[in-house]
């Protein structure tokens, strides 16, 4: 046998996540492990809650990071809120709406699907029809930022609709948090989950969540036990909860939490509005470059996520070959299409720490070379087009 230590290559991560992690966050990960009941750690937990409240723009007491990746954050929302027999209106306009449906059904609930084309927003009119037609529905669930398509739906309007029809709103903000406005309190979101490996630029493995008082009330009044012991908030909150005694439930992922804490400190230093602006601005530069070389984006301009750009693969171009060469020759990772968009789009992320001018230029330069060599684009114009935008900031 004799397996050696693993030394990963140094990539530039411009896919759908994980995104490049700041050296400050990597350094934080390597700080000495302490106990999950250590008073010093408990102090850090209090700060973590405040930092997540800042990122989510909420005063929700029930705000903390689930000890597992975003999918577990999603499951935390569904298993704690739903009881068997509950009806949920689930919007699907990409991969992750389908995952919500799976969650509903595995909780013994019924999912009423509102389907929209992949690459389009969730249509509020269809949602209202579904809410009208299903007065017994208890929840509306939708994806704010569809990581599989790069579309941003109108969360504010959808949450308003949910409340108008007496439903609670469950929102997937895995890719939006930190990259584009997410206003938990102002929009009245009842349950929200995110990930650390997108615009927060911490390593994957944790899932920030937040619940409104109304959602907390629903959880408190459950008639059945939560089907997951690990994710049961009535137990987890004995450790993380407001006024909790920090009673042992499971062992928290200490070092990963150091990393998330540091990434949130960085977000706070920059200011979240500035972070949103940075994402919007570099998206414009990337877009200018992509369009100059003749590539087009999948999503309508008004509905685009700045942090996730779904680029239509030109006719005749070998998807895997391009991504392979970018990775091998340029150490650059961009994402493949998922589901029905596999082979049809690339997903170029500009997330968190990775969202900067150097990366925009490097990505365009690399694509210029790889696609130019194939004769698939107009060569030598992309970087200049991006630079024009980038200079406009000065």
């Amino acid at each position: 046998m004799a397996i050696k230590s693993f030394t990963p290559p140094q990539r530039t991560l411009m896919g759908p996540g994980p995104s490049d992690v700041s050296p400050r966050v990597l350094e934080a990960l390597a700080r000495p492990t302490i106990g999950h009941l250590d008073p010093a750690f408990v102090g850090m937990m209090d700060e973590m809650k405040q930092l997540l409240q800042y990122a989510f723009r909420t005063k929700n007491e029930l705000t903390f990071p689930v000890s597992a990746p975003g999918s577990a954050g999603m499951e935390t929302c569904f298993v704690n809120l739903l009881e068997p027999g509950d009806k949920v209106i689930v919007c699907q306009n990409g991969v992750f709406g389908g995952r919500m449906k799976e969650n509903v059904e595995r909780c013994g609930g019924t999912a009423v699907m509102v389907e929209d084309e992949w690459g389009k927003v969730v249509d509020p009119n269809k949602v209202e029809e579904a809410l009208k037609a299903n007065p017994d529905a208890k929840f509306l669930a939708f994806v704010h930022a569809e990581t599989s398509t790069g579309v941003q739906s109108d969360a504010k309007t959808l949450v308003e609709l949910a409340h108008q029809y007496d439903c609670l709103a469950i929102v997937d903000a895995v890719t939006s948090l930190g990259g584009t406005p997410v206003e938990v309190d102002a929009w009245g979101i009842d349950a929200i989950y995110s990930g650390t490996q997108k615009c927060l630029s911490a390593p994957p493995g944790l899932s920030p969540v937040s619940f409104s008082d109304r959602a907390a009330e629903v959880i408190k009044n459950r008639k059945t036990k939560v089907q997951s012991w690990f994710l049961d908030l009535s137990l987890v909150m004995g450790y993380w909860g407001p006024g909790a005694k920090r009673a042992y439930h499971h062992t928290a992922p200490i070092n990963n939490l150091y990393g998330l804490h540091e990434s949130l400190v960085i977000l706070q230093e920059e200011g979240i509005e500035n972070a949103w602006q940075r994402h919007a601005f570099h998206h414009q530069a990337l877009k200018a470059g992509l369009e100059a070389m003749g590539l087009s984006l999948l999503v309508n301009e008004a509905d685009r996520l700045p942090q996730l750009n779904a680029v239509v693969i030109p006719e005749g171009v070998d998807d895997a070959a391009v991504r392979g060469r970018l990775l091998q020759d340029f150490n650059l990772e961009i994402g493949a299409g998922l589901g029905t968009l596999a082979g049809k789009v690339w997903r170029i992320g500009l997330m968190g720490h990775a969202c900067n001018a150097n990366n925009v230029e490097y990505c365009l330069q690399s694509l210029d070379q790889v696609l130019g060599d194939m004769g698939a684009i107009e060569k030598g114009v992309a970087v200049a087009a991006a630079q024009t935008v980038l200079k406009s900031a000065a």
Copy 2:
């Protein structure tokens, strides 16, 4: 607001876990994040499987780390193996057997409890009676190394009994793996879960699991969907499984996996039998010191876990005050008692990287001072008693 970066204190972790993490592992955590579908990462995943097979002493194909702490590993075993209505014989001789019961019931199963006193082993006679009385039981579930008491049960005998009565054996090895023999293949264990923050000395956040072919067959023939989407092995194995296409299921906790990989490389370098011996040896030294100062261990000598020593708190001694002073004045963490043993025992861990002569001496010295100042022990003899044992190795 303005929250600053978090700098944890440098502790010596001799509680029930997390244990001290090797500098090599901390350094590995800080290596650059790469994508979960990156070919370099996929190569690391193959090595991870081999390393875990080495640690578990198994050839099981279905061996991988769950992307969440030990409690999620436990849940992975139960939600994938059980279907509603299934009967499980659950042995409880501490906190963690109770957690197994919770898992069984939340899966819609029935738990038949075999109870033993906390601090005693699981009694094979009682288990056999229960198996006889419940011919419709499908599983026997027990804790190999009870982290709450420091007891090691006879896993080999219990698994044999399970098979004799046509049950599959589900085993909690959170605290045993890497510290004391765990022979998955030789003992015929069907499903096993562990943690990273005990004798493997990686940070918490992952849970190594392994399933026998027989267990894999049960999972394959399920009639109902697994209630957890996140932990559903039929999906997870599309990413981790043998011959898998490494299809995206959830985003793996990349940097945490770097850490576990490094800690398993260290285990392999030392040789697992040597690691077992190291734990047994330093336990003897610690024991000699504790006994010299007049303290006693909760558990019968034959049933003790070398890596987790439950020490009876002398009459009249303030539990919390002692642990508080150890932490504050000596940066030394030892564990409190859990459940019925709260206030009655301390739990002193000698786990993985933390299991060495320096720590044995440091712990005894610190206890000597704190308890000596209280007049609760015979002062000034513990370290010498331990050193006598430690020197015997030379």
